[in-house]
Symmetry: C2
Subunit: 218 residues, 2 copies
């Protein structure tokens, strides 16, 4: 059965590939698994039918025969376990890649999301200028550490894995801030990740949804 | 081989069980796996020997024969895969429990950590009173959703799992804020979790480390 994921009917990032369905689309493309997408509006996300799938009323969800999952990290892990290409076969290397999945989501992403939330909700506040300095410092501390570990390697630990996929997805949320550009090896890591054909296909698919949601020009 | 974890030589939470080694100790106790602890100071955590184990210079780490892991979520998953008792045998139920592991760490914990960080680093700032209202609202939104899903059940999805262990660990970080008390079913969930013999043993072990780190009274 072709799995079905959910995504924003009109993504707030305007098709820049930063919504969390992008991680799942990318993983699906990496493993060559066709999928269907059901689009949901913000109103629909908080209604009982969607909350039954996702307790926190968010996207993405993932449905296959008899199984419903939420949380992009869990969905990527599911795909990585069902298919080859996203986790090493060696049991120890597999667990190390899973460490990087959790590191992306629990150690690196929170500081990046906090910075985005400040921009979204506090940039008109008198304290914003002071806080953003502090938040940038926290992000840079994580990137210092990440850059040091990555070193000259192409990926975080051996071949490309679900850990790299999630870490790249998280770093991309820094967008046009210029913060990643201060780390040439992290910028190169992102360039390698986003040049992957699977990433390009996933990006195009989510961008097409956004473009279709816009009224025709003229 | 008995695995070795790292923990704070002197935990900043003064033995309240909120440091991330507690999650790993609890999982080890749940599955009945003896372990050794190597204590590290804040200075040691940032030195090359520890950074080789943990790229972000944090605790806990986990070492067994030929394998080094970081990230408490990944370590708990490792233990859950090696032993019975923390993940269901049924493949679909297992993945749903893993969804709850990621939900604890990527959806619920960030809002709780952000609140703690504001208390630690911004409570002297003129904007603190305004921000804490906003941060509490974000935490409560997550707890509203979590409480609604938990309903009258003892655990989040069937029997106690690594998802419950991580979610309880995250909610405990709200400590004496009183926020959880507004949700009787979440308070009961925490009471059930912390009454487990494995939790009690893990708590006592980390508390003993803190007490031993203090100068003798008198």
């Amino acid at each position: 059965m072709t799995p079905t994921i959910t995504a924003f009917a009109a993504s707030p990032d305007r098709g820049k590939g930063l919504a969390r369905d992008m991680r799942v689309r990318w993983a699906l493309e990496e493993v060559g698994q066709p999928y269907q997408v059901r689009l949901v509006t913000f109103a629909e996300m908080k209604q009982p039918a969607h909350v039954a799938l996702h307790p926190f009323g968010q996207i993405p969800t993932y449905e296959e025969d008899g199984l419903t999952l939420f949380e992009s990290g869990a969905i990527v892990l599911r795909l990585a376990e069902q298919h080859t290409g996203l986790l090493p076969q060696d049991p120890h290397a597999r667990m190390r890649a899973i460490s990087w999945m959790f590191a992306a989501l629990n150690t690196v992403e929170p500081s990046i999301v906090e910075r985005s939330m400040a921009w979204l909700f506090e940039r008109e506040q008198p304290w914003y200028a002071s806080r953003i300095v502090m938040l940038d410092t926290r992000v840079r501390q994580r990137l210092d550490e990440l850059s040091r570990r990555l070193g000259d390697g192409p990926w975080l630990d051996g071949d490309f894995s679900a850990g790299d996929l999630l870490m790249a997805s998280v770093l991309l949320r820094l967008g046009s801030s210029g913060i990643v550009d201060a780390y040439p090896n992290l910028a190169a890591f992102l360039a390698r990740a986003t040049a992957r054909p699977a990433y390009r296909r996933a990006f195009a698919a989510q961008e097409a949804v956004f473009l279709a949601s816009q009224p025709p020009a003229g």
